[in-house]
């Protein structure tokens, strides 16, 4: 684990990467890193996140600034720009039920080959998916999702990379921290290793490659 400047994050991110980005309508979103990636000019990302937030923050800015080739999310309704680009076919949008998306990312992080869920069965979600029957009940087989880079947000880190999140700013961040080749966490505070009770840590530091001190609001 290494503490880096926000200016250095784009060293680890390439055009065309699949990025897992934490946040729920921008809450718990790594905004300092997002702004840096946008400023760097890198592009053509596939972005996996719960939603596309609003045009002015979180994943919404990625869409607004035309950095996104494909969005994988459960909800795009709060960002008219995403709908507009989808209709113009300048971005591809894959909509996934929120709970399935969470389990798929988790599956990617914990080494499962897939999970079976009833959610989406008999709806448009089942299109192109395998249906598996177990003990007489049908389920959709949903595959794991992984990213090249996970860009997440936490409240606090210690110098070993152990993370603590705050309230509903936790959301997708802990599961994304397990499911990418490189994990970069933006935090509001960095404290000495050993200052957190081992029982209170949400994300073990071994998942985290880089920490950026982002500050409270950007």
């Amino acid at each position: 684990m290494e503490i880096i400047s926000v200016k250095d994050v784009t060293k680890y991110i390439n055009d065309g990467d699949t990025l897992l980005i934490g946040g729920f309508l921008g809450v718990g979103s790594p905004d300092a890193i997002i702004n840096e990636i946008i400023d760097s000019g890198k592009k053509d990302f596939t972005v996996v996140g719960n939603d596309t937030s609003f045009e002015t923050n979180g994943i919404g800015r990625f869409v607004k600034e035309n950095k996104v080739k494909k969005i994988i999310a459960s909800h795009i309704g709060t960002n008219p720009e995403t709908q507009k680009q989808m209709i113009e076919e300048s971005i591809e949008v894959e909509l996934i039920p929120q709970g399935t998306l969470a389990e798929q990312i988790r599956a990617g992080g914990v080494g499962l080959g897939g999970i079976l869920t009833p959610t989406g069965l008999g709806t448009v979600v089942e299109k192109n998916k395998t249906i598996v029957e177990v003990d007489g009940k049908k389920y959709l087989l949903e595959k794991p999702i992984r990213g090249n880079v996970a860009v997440i947000k936490a409240k606090k880190a210690d110098k070993a990379g152990n993370l603590i999140y705050s309230f509903t700013a936790r959301n997708f961040n802990p599961i994304m921290a397990m499911a990418a080749d490189i994990v970069i966490a933006e935090v509001e505070e960095i404290i000495e290793t050993g200052k957190i009770n081992p029982d209170e840590i949400h994300t073990p530091g071994i998942f985290v490659d880089y920490i950026v001190l982002g500050g409270d609001e950007k």
Partner: protein
């Protein structure tokens, strides 16, 4: 009382003491305002909290404490926060007692369509498919008509949210219960006649001899 308040008040009567409840965005959120004094429920919000409290006073907002509609919230004693995997473990694992959701259509099978209008509005399903598939009890809270068109239809023409039959439909005209035999008319709104309901309903309704008026 306007029709939204009527619906919210009637849905509130379905909540049992000790229930864990998830209210959808919009009309369903209003249900929280009408819970009887003697009933204690805990509210779940899919962005990661149980024990959601009312909106904070101005200046007391915590940027990390929001509901699934991006509004600031507070929390009550006993509240717990968690990640999205746990939040949907609760919903999908059968641990959520009641979800109240808006609807675009419900049909004679009791199936709900509430997440998209092809070619017009594609916000995404968010947590709706998980909630309808996984909650112990699913209540649809919606107006009976969209303009002139009935929202209680023979067969959903909009994309389904789930194969699962919902448990109760509460509109500004009626309370309807999907059963194995079909849609049962359970109550009528104050001042609304059964004939008005039948006229406003595309689906076939099972009408008992006596249909009581909603008490709200």
């Amino acid at each position: 009382m306007n029709s939204k308040e009527l619906i919210a008040r009637r849905v509130a009567k379905e909540l049992k003491n000790g229930s864990l409840v998830n209210l959808g965005i919009g009309l369903p959120t209003m249900v929280a305002n009408y819970i009887p004094e003697d009933i204690n429920v805990m509210f779940h919000s899919e962005n990661g909290i149980i024990g959601m409290g009312p909106t904070p006073e101005e200046g007391m907002e915590n940027k990390d404490l929001t509901n699934a509609g991006n509004g600031f919230i507070t929390y009550v004693p006993g509240a717990v926060s968690f990640d999205s995997a746990m939040s949907f473990a609760i919903i999908r694992g059968g641990h959520l007692d009641i979800t109240v959701l808006g609807g675009l259509q419900v049909d004679e099978n009791g199936q709900l369509a509430n997440w998209m209008v092809p070619g017009k509005k594609i916000p995404g399903m968010g947590g709706a498919m998980d909630l309808v598939t996984g909650a112990k009890k699913v209540i649809v809270a919606m107006t009976h008509l969209a303009g002139e068109s009935s929202k209680i239809v023979k067969k959903c023409t909009l994309p389904l949210t789930s194969l699962r039959k919902v448990d109760l439909i509460v509109t500004d005209m009626a309370v309807i219960e999907p059963t194995e035999e079909g849609l049962l008319l359970v109550e009528r709104a104050p001042g609304v006649k059964v004939s008005d309901i039948l006229k406003a309903t595309e689906a076939e309704l099972i009408v008992p001899d006596y249909v009581p008026e909603m008490i709200v």
